[in-house]
């Protein structure tokens, strides 16, 4: 086969991919400029270095290509014997070095600008959990979790996928445009990473660390991103949605949130009916507990215990001991619904050394009461227990 073939067919394949892609609507091919001054700078740096590489590639591959064509033995080429030149070595060391310096200068400028979060107008605290994000607005007291809201049926291929499949949440992060927003990012359990491409950067969310970053969003709109550090089974299922609003709309939203929080606080003191608790409990369970304990309450063998009484659970001694001690595992290795007070304690404080987190700091009393009521009366459990928010508050 002719040796034109090598570079020729590579070129053809690349061209085909590109053309076919554009024709068939193959999504994007390139990074986008984004909606912040930093994201624009980053985009331009990216394009600059890309063109430099293309230029060098054309020169180097072009030279090879010519050589492959012209210096073939089958064409009668006779090998020269030169094999060194100090001058050439110096030249092709210095010239690339100069090219690199020319890129390093704008890159340095952009990096210095990025690492300067001072004089912020608004601070947001971002915390990565397995497997959702929590946002706090320290100035307004607003705090909420942001969970994936794509229905499980779509993931399981039982329902058609929407346009925002895997990129939709129940509570997006709402921000004002044209304000310098400072982000304080940390992790609750393992390392996560908060990434919205339209803002131009990502920052790791590390337990025990607080990382600082900032953005000034220029355009109202909805911007979507994903967790960008492997964090376990839900890594692909904890997206980020930022809704950027005009200053007026943002102020309105803050007021609405504060009102809703007041209403929720009130709800924590009232008495709930069993029906209300079960309905709310199912919602909380699906969002927060089902990832591990499963929608059916049957858990994952060897890893996450069932909540359905009568189901067996075998695992390492370290996992079984706390369950046995608190009355949730009988001698035959089957799960039982232990005492209510212990159930509340386990959900509030977690089980140290295991993957069972402490949800006392994550869910309010009403949600905790609801989910525990739900668990104790679902999956075949019939304890009849009804837990009120006040009971949870008292147990803290």
């Amino acid at each position: 086969m002719s040796k034109k073939g090598l570079l020729g067919s590579l070129g053809a394949a690349a061209l085909l991919l590109w053309a076919g892609g554009a024709a068939a609507g193959f999504g994007e091919l390139n990074m986008r400029p984004g909606v912040t001054p930093i994201s624009h700078d980053v985009y331009h740096l990216h394009m600059a270095i890309l063109w430099v590489c293309v230029a060098i590639g054309v020169v180097v591959f072009g030279t090879m290509f010519i050589s492959i064509l012209r210096h073939r033995k089958s064409r009668g080429a006779v090998a020269a014997q030169f094999h060194e030149s100090t001058l050439i070595e110096i030249l092709w060391t210095i010239i690339p070095f100069v090219i690199l310096v020319s890129i390093a200068i704008p890159a340095t400028k952009t990096l210095i600008a990025m690492e300067n979060p001072s004089d912020a107008d608004l601070t947001i605290k971002v915390t990565g959990y397995q497997w959702r994000w929590r946002y706090d607005y320290p100035d307004s007291g607003i705090s909420f979790f942001s969970n994936l809201s794509t229905p499980q049926d779509e993931i399981d291929n039982k329902a058609p996928k929407g346009k925002e499949y895997l990129l939709q949440v129940d509570h997006p992060l709402v921000l004002p445009i044209n304000k310098k927003v400072r982000f304080l990012t940390t992790g609750n359990d393992v390392i996560h990473s908060w990434w919205v491409p339209a803002l131009g950067w990502k920052k790791d969310a590390i337990p025990g660390y607080i990382n600082e970053s900032w953005a000034r969003i220029e355009k109202p709109g909805t911007y979507r991103g994903q967790c960008a550090e492997l964090c376990g089974k839900g890594h692909g299922f904890m997206p980020i949605v930022v809704v950027a609003k005009t200053e007026a709309d943002y102020a309105k939203w803050v007021k609405e949130q504060k009102l809703a929080m007041a209403q929720a606080a009130e709800a924590a003191t009232k008495t709930w009916s069993r029906k209300e608790l079960m309905a709310q409990g199912e919602k909380v369970y699906t969002t927060t507990c089902a990832a591990c304990h499963q929608a059916t309450g049957t858990g994952v063998p060897g890893v996450f215990p069932p909540l359905a009484a009568g189901h067996p659970f075998a695992a390492s001694d370290a996992l079984l001991k706390p369950l046995r001690e608190r009355g949730f595992l009988d001698e035959s290795g089957k799960v039982v619904m232990g005492p209510l007070e212990d159930h509340i304690q386990i959900v509030l404080h977690g089980i140290p050394g295991s993957a069972m987190q402490a949800f006392g700091g994550q869910l309010n009393d009403a949600d905790l009461a609801a989910v525990i009521t739900y668990e104790r009366n679902s999956f075949g459990n019939t304890t009849g227990d009804v837990v009120q928010p006040a009971d949870v508050a008292a147990a803290r």
Binding site: L111, P197, D204, N211, C227, G234, G236
Partner: protein, 528 residues
């Protein structure tokens, strides 16, 4: 097997040739036999890792979860990397080193033949233990081959076995590296000065030093993971006064030199093949040696470019950006030297040359994406996306693996005494080079479009390129069966190979018959 059973013709021949049967392979201290063992092991592991890759690509064929749960997917990505790096590429390079280095320097064998045997036999044991973790309760490791805490500490029963396997794999590599350094320093034939050694020997010498320097660092890092989990230490646990980011620093202090360990021998291979088929000496021999040494030194001061998003001080980010960009210079010098070797040569394009030329083009493309990744502010967008996956697969598959395949075609006639089937070899090459690009080039687009790494399911705008990539993956994987067939066929028979094999081949290994006798250079050759 019919490899190397020819008796030598040395005058005081008190040897009988190799032992017979299975015990030959268990007890051998012969560098050719041990080279064969490493290469066969590596080939088997390449298919094991390849099947894992096919499973990954199969799940990623379409959005939605079709074949597996996310945890198993994470086990596959973790194990695919561990198997390919520690089970396929590194042992393959050691196998090539074992076969070729003694012959290239005119030595009768490696300096420490028994250590050589142990170095190999640790590997199947360690690999079996690592693979067995997939069947343990809680499954195999699923925290990525990078094993970051705290996530890695959530591994179940498999945890101590993974750590132990990593220790064993590291010990095998270090012992092998020590053997290579001692052999090259102490056993060169008289007249074979350092600056007369073939480039493959130079690159392996430098690689061996890197291995000795950094494998113990990995061992330290995973030992600290072990004690954090079982012995109540808090090296990486913030609540106990430790630092999860410290693991990343230690890991990547190993990890960056490791990727040069994975590529320097490939540079050496290409530096042997191109001059042969250009019928022209390597351009800039001393530059190539100095460039390789510079790359090795620089590789120790760039590690944090794998961690630009953890929140390092600005000064550190700038330093690592500059140092990483700097490494592009000696690497570029090597590429230019290969092209200059081809220039005004008398070129033919047998299969080894096809792989070497493809290496130069495609590894350079991988180098370009590497240069882009070096730009810290841009890296904030590329990090942990498919852009990185594309980058390292270009340098490792079309780089290291293509070099290994090229080396196999290049030296198979010397090992077996038979020419492999050139027509089939070319088929293998063309199928591989086209499909590897269909598999990996679109991953650049996916990363730039916003697709993160290590996810089993993705948003719908990523669907089309993922489908193309998967199809390329299946075709590339299937094409490797042809390689297996060609290798086995050439062991069993084929046209008889001469000693020189290739018209333009130069070096001591080409002065012995093909197949190379079981013992070569028991008397030191004369080197001019």
């Amino acid at each position: 097997m019919s490899i190397a059973t020819t008796a030598t013709t040395a005058p005081h021949d008190e040897h009988h040739g190799p032992a017979r049967g299975l015990m030959r392979w268990v007890t051998t201290t012969n560098h050719k036999d041990i080279g064969t063992l490493y290469l066969c092991f590596a080939l088997a592991m390449f298919f094991v890792g390849g099947i894992m890759a096919m499973l990954i690509r199969a799940e990623l064929f379409e959005p939605g979860l079709q074949l597996m749960q996310p945890t198993f997917f994470n086990e596959m990505t973790t194990m695919h990397a561990l198997v390919m790096i520690f089970g396929a590429v590194m042992p393959a390079f050691v196998g090539l080193a074992n076969w070729q280095i003694p012959m290239m320097i005119g030595a009768p064998d490696m300096a420490l033949p028994r250590l050589n045997n142990w170095s190999f036999w640790i590997l199947p044991f360690a690999a079996a233990m690592l693979l067995s973790t997939l069947f343990m309760q809680g499954g195999g490791p699923a925290g990525g081959w990078t094993m970051y805490p705290p996530l890695m500490l959530q591994t179940g029963e498999a945890f101590p076995f993974v750590i132990f396997a990593v220790h064993l794999l590291g010990i095998s590599s270090v012992m092998g590296a020590i053997n290579i350094v001692v052999t090259i320093f102490n056993m060169r034939a008289p007249g074979m000065s350092m600056m007369k050694m073939p480039l493959f020997v130079w690159t392996w010498l430098i690689t061996a030093f890197l291995l000795i320097a950094v494998m113990p660092v990995l061992a330290g890092a995973v030992t600290m993971l072990l004690t954090d989990k079982f012995f109540d230490t808090s090296f990486f646990n913030a609540a106990g006064g430790g630092d999860p980011v410290m693991f990343q620093h230690i890991f990547w202090f190993f990890g960056h030199p490791e990727v040069y360990i994975l590529i320097l021998p490939a540079f050496g291979i290409v530096s042997q093949i191109i001059p042969t088929f250009a019928r022209k000496p390597l351009f800039g021999y001393s530059s190539m040696v100095y460039a390789t040494a510079s790359i090795a030194f620089l590789s120790f001061i760039v590690w944090a470019h794998h961690m630009f998003t953890v929140g390092m001080p600005l000064t550190a980010e700038l330093f690592f950006m500059y140092a990483t960009m700097l490494i592009a210079v000696p690497t570029g010098v090597k590429v230019f030297n290969w092209v200059a070797t081809m220039w005004r040569g008398s070129l033919t394009f047998e299969t080894p040359m096809l792989f070497a030329v493809a290496f130069v083009v495609l590894f350079t493309i991988g180098g370009f994406s590497g240069l882009m990744l070096a730009i810290t502010p841009a890296d904030f967008q590329y990090h942990d996306t498919y852009f990185v996956v594309a980058h390292f697969h270009y340098v490792l598959v079309t780089g290291a693996v293509f070099a290994i395949m090229g080396a196999t075609y290049y030296w198979l006639p010397k090992w077996t005494g038979h020419m492999y089937n050139e027509k089939l070899g070319k088929w293998h090459f063309w199928l591989s080079v086209v499909f590897v690009n269909v598999l990996f080039f679109p991953q650049h687009f996916l990363g730039l479009a916003g697709m993160p790494r290590r996810i089993p399911d993705y948003a719908v705008q990523f669907a089309d390129w993922n489908m193309i990539s998967t199809l390329g993956g299946f075709a590339f994987g299937a094409s490797q069966l042809l390689f297996l067939y060609i290798v086995v066929q050439s062991i069993r028979g084929g046209a008889k190979a001469t000693g020189r094999v290739w018209e333009g081949a130069r070096g001591l290994e080409w002065t012995v018959p093909s197949p190379a006798p079981y013992h070569t250079f028991r008397e030191a050759p004369e080197v001019h």
